[in-house]
Structure formats: C-alpha cells, structure tokens
C-alpha cells in the first residue's frame, strides 16, 4: 500500500447520483487486483477528515477508477471535483478475490454498486468466461450496460433483487438453476452488494454445497487494519473488513454481526 496523489482524468455522472471517477497517479509498478479497494480523500465544502473506501472498478498500471453513489458529505464533496483536480489516496488496500476457475463456471452476482469489484474481475481476467448477474433496487441507478461488455461475458440484468425478500427468492432460484446446469463442472460464486443479498446467496450456496466468495462493505476509519473500526465476527474469530478482507469465504462470515 502506498500514499499518492491521483489526478482526476475522467469524472462523469452515469446514473442518478452515481458517478464514474478515474484518476491517474505517478507511482507505477503497483499490482492492483480485483477485490481490493482504495482510500480516497474527499475534501470540499463539507468538513471531512477520513478518507473514504471505494471498490476498484478498473485499473491500469497508472490509473484507477471507481463508481460511487452520492450518499453523504464525502461523496457530495467528491461529486463536485473536476478533471485536473488532485486527490490523496491510499492504494491498494485489502485482499483480492481468489482466482476464478479455469475449468468450471464462474458466476458473479452484483447488487447495486457491489458490481464494481466484479466488473474489475471480468476485466482483469479477459479470457475467462463469466456469467454476470447485476441488479439494483432502483431503475434509475442502472450502470450503463456498455461498460460491462466483453467477449465471454454472459450478462444478465435482473431488476430489483437487492432488497431482502427478493434476494432470498432470487438467490434460491438462481442457485437451483446453476446446480442443474453444472452437475459435471464445478461452480464458483462471487457476490458483492447489500449485506442481505450476500447473506441469502451464501445461505443457498451452503445448501447446495457451492463455494462462494463475498466482498464486504463497512464503515471504516483507517482502511489498513489498525483502528478495528470495521471488525466483525467470523467463524474463525474477529476479523477486519479492511485488512483481513474485504473478500471472504461467505461461509466464514457471521452475518448477524454485520449491521
């Protein structure tokens, strides 16, 4: 992890209250992998002290991009930044997803902005086929589909599976479908989105003996494991989202400890 300044090279609104932000930084030679995140300073008219964590939507040797929704003071400040502005950032933070399966089916389930690290996964492994499911609670928050297209991606848009009840039914139906289709090849699920969605998908994965990796989100202060602001319970003891994660084996998470 390094601290560096990123110059904004692209910043645009891509859906209601949702922005795409790309930054270029001078320090090269970093290895940034899908599942990791950045801590980004968000100075502006609202007083902020802490950096904000953002999943990495895409990265190259000298650029990193995120998608974010304006939800509070920090992201309001961020939304007012212009191309050419400079922001301090820490990167890369946290641990990446494990490797997708070379033989077998890799299914990505993203809810809302949980799609961001899954998008990076598809870009990072350009020759790996993926089935990508993407849903949002609100139609106006859809990220444009053209951002996802590449050869080998089977893209499914599925409206409104992010709330609790719908995600339960959705994940049950989906996993039954995949289990029927993939009896001869192993199945691996990656999921990122609302906690309830990840919890429900994990529950059904356990019932069908399917491996699942989740990327958790939490309020955090430092982003690198020293403040314990994002600690939660796992079956192996207390872990931090920022340092031990944000990617975890879904079956290890004690979901009730995540508020």
């Amino acid at each position: 992890m390094i601290k560096t300044n990123g110059e904004i090279i692209e910043h645009r609104c891509i859906a209601k209250n949702i922005f795409f932000l790309s930054l270029r930084y001078a320090q090269s030679g970093l290895t940034i992998q899908p599942g990791q995140f950045i801590q980004l300073s968000c100075p502006g008219k609202h007083s902020t002290l802490l950096k904000r964590p953002f999943s990495i939507f895409n990265a190259s040797p000298d650029t990193v991009s995120v998608v974010y929704k304006v939800v509070g003071k920090g992201t309001t400040n961020l939304s007012e930044k212009k191309v050419g502005d400079s922001l301090e950032m820490l990167l890369p933070c946290g641990n990446p997803f494990s490797l997708p399966q070379e033989k077998g089916l890799n299914v990505l389930i993203g809810g809302g902005l949980g799609i961001a690290p899954l998008h990076f996964l598809t870009k990072y492994y350009p020759n790996t086929p993926f089935e990508l499911w993407y849903g949002t609670s609100y139609e106006e928050e859809w990220i444009p589909a053209n951002l996802f297209h590449r050869k080998g991606i089977d893209l499914h848009f599925h409206a409104d599976y992010c709330n609790s009840n719908d995600s339960l039914q959705f994940s049950e139906n989906l996993l039954q479908k995949y289990q029927r289709e993939s009896t001869t090849s192993p199945l691996k699920i990656y999921c990122c989105g609302p906690t309830k969605l990840m919890q429900n998908v994990t529950k059904h994965c356990a019932e069908h003996h399917i491996s699942i990796e989740v990327s958790l989100e939490s309020r955090m202060a430092c982003g690198f494991g020293i403040c314990l602001g994002c600690s939660f319970q796992t079956k192996e003891g207390m872990k931090t989202v920022c340092k031990d994660g944000p990617t975890f084996d879904g079956s290890s998470v004690v979901w009730e400890s995540l508020s």
Partner: protein
Amino acid sequence: MRNNCMQVTLQSPGHMIQLKNPIIPASGTFGDGSIVNSLYDVNQLGALLTKSITLHPRQGNPSPRIYETPGGILNSVGLENKGVKWFLEEVMPFVLSLHTSKWISIAGFTVDDFVDLTHAINPYEVDAIEVNVSCPNIHKNGIQFCQNKDVLQDTLHRVRKATDHFLIAKIALETNSLSEILEVIQQEGFDAVCIGNTIRGIAIDPISRKPFFRQIFAGLSGPAIKPIALRVVWEAFSSHPTLPIIGCGGIQCASDVIEFICAGASAVEVGTMNLVDPFILPAIIQDISTYCTTHDVTLSSIIGSSHRSL
C-alpha cells in the same frame, strides 16, 4: 543545529526515559505497530506504544464503531483485543525486536485487572507501561478510575508495587479535579501522566431517531478536541511543573506538537491522524526537525515556555 535537537527526557524522582524525538503513536491508533512497520521503519518514532491490552480477550463493541464528525471521529471500538496471554506470545517478540523506546498500554475494568496485567508485563524489558485509568470501573458503576480519587490512589499504589518499570497514568480530559489527580499520580510514584483520552460524545441517526452507537456514547478524538487537550496540559504544567506530561489530543502537524510542548508537554501522542494518513508521523518528525533548525532551538529548551512568557 545539533542532531539531538528533538531529544526529550521524561525525568521523575525514580526513573528517566530519553526519547530521540517526542512523537509517539497514541494507543489504539497504531495496532501493535507491525502493520505500520511494513510501511516505514517505526524505529524512527520516539517510542512505540501498543494498543491497550486487557487481561482477557475482548470482542469489543458491535458495529457500527466509527462516526465522522467535523474535525474528528467518534469511536466505539470497545478495546477489542485478544488478551494479555496472546499479546505476550504473539506481539511481545516484535515489540522487543525494536530499538526505539518500547511502551505497553494496559487497560483494566477492576483494580485487580491492572495489577495482574502489570505482573504479566513486568518480566519483559520494555521501557514503560502506560496505565489507562480512563477506563470504566465495573465495580464503581462504570465511573472511570481517574474520576475517583480513592479508587485512583488504590489502583496506582498497587500497580506501582507490582513493578519497577517507568509508569505513565493515562487520564481523561474530563476530570473533576485535575490538580488532585496529578497529586495522586505523583504521590504514588508514577513517573509521568498522559493527558488525555477521547471525550465522550454521542451521535443520533436522524432517520431512526435513535443513538447511532449501540453503546450510546462514544469517544471523540481528532483535531476538534485539540484546544481542550492543550488547555488541560497547560493547567497540569501550571500546577505540577515537575511531573512529566505527555500531551495527547487532536495533533495533526508539527506546529500542533510545538504548541503542546510550549504548554508543558515533554512528549506527545498522535492518534486519529494515523488513521487518516499512516505516513504522518515521520512527516511530523521531519517538520519538527526543520522547526528546530529554523528557530535555532532544542525542544527540551521550550517545554513549558509559554508559561514563562507571561
């Protein structure tokens, strides 16, 4: 300017610690130091102070644990740690491998906790033990140890008897009688005082209209509390000029450090800003060195200097 312009000494009747610079990470904002040591060499620091350990493992408080405020944060971490047995096995070897000053923070919920923790740390060659008496005492309705003179006296007396190490009492900024507390600290043979800890605050979720934290109250830290911490350091130096003071509260840059030293602190702990910028402590040290050169002073010569100018 001499190379040792940043050197400071914490001198009590019984002990002396020399620090190459006055910069110490506040307990709980630096882990055990090993993560930051992977970012830079923590031996640059005046001392390494580890996160408070308790006698038994603690899961800490439920989430959420962090709430940002203008110029600060509220935290409700709740002293999550794996207990002293784990600490001695897993962390102490790293601490002992360092060649800067090595300080251990202990936190208890009964007087016996503090005594047992001190006995556990005592055999190890560390340079200081910071006794976090701003914890709530479960035998006294949760009142902080430092808020009750008799309890504080008993605690410090028994801890002092348990070790010959350099002892620091870490007290709250909100105290009923600062002068009385400092008197007890000196009487009981403690070597220094750390002023202070977080200030209790609250946040309320306007949607649910309930307290944001499950524990209702949380500890406020960060630049917002600096003038308060500075005021308490000033008052402590005024009333007890021979008691070494470690200032702590809202420091974010070298000029803040100089303010604390001029108010009477011999060293400082930097907390919240480590969470904002993990590289901030070496930058502050560098800027203090520049300050000493620019102004042709040693830090030790300006401790409490603001009082002399009145």
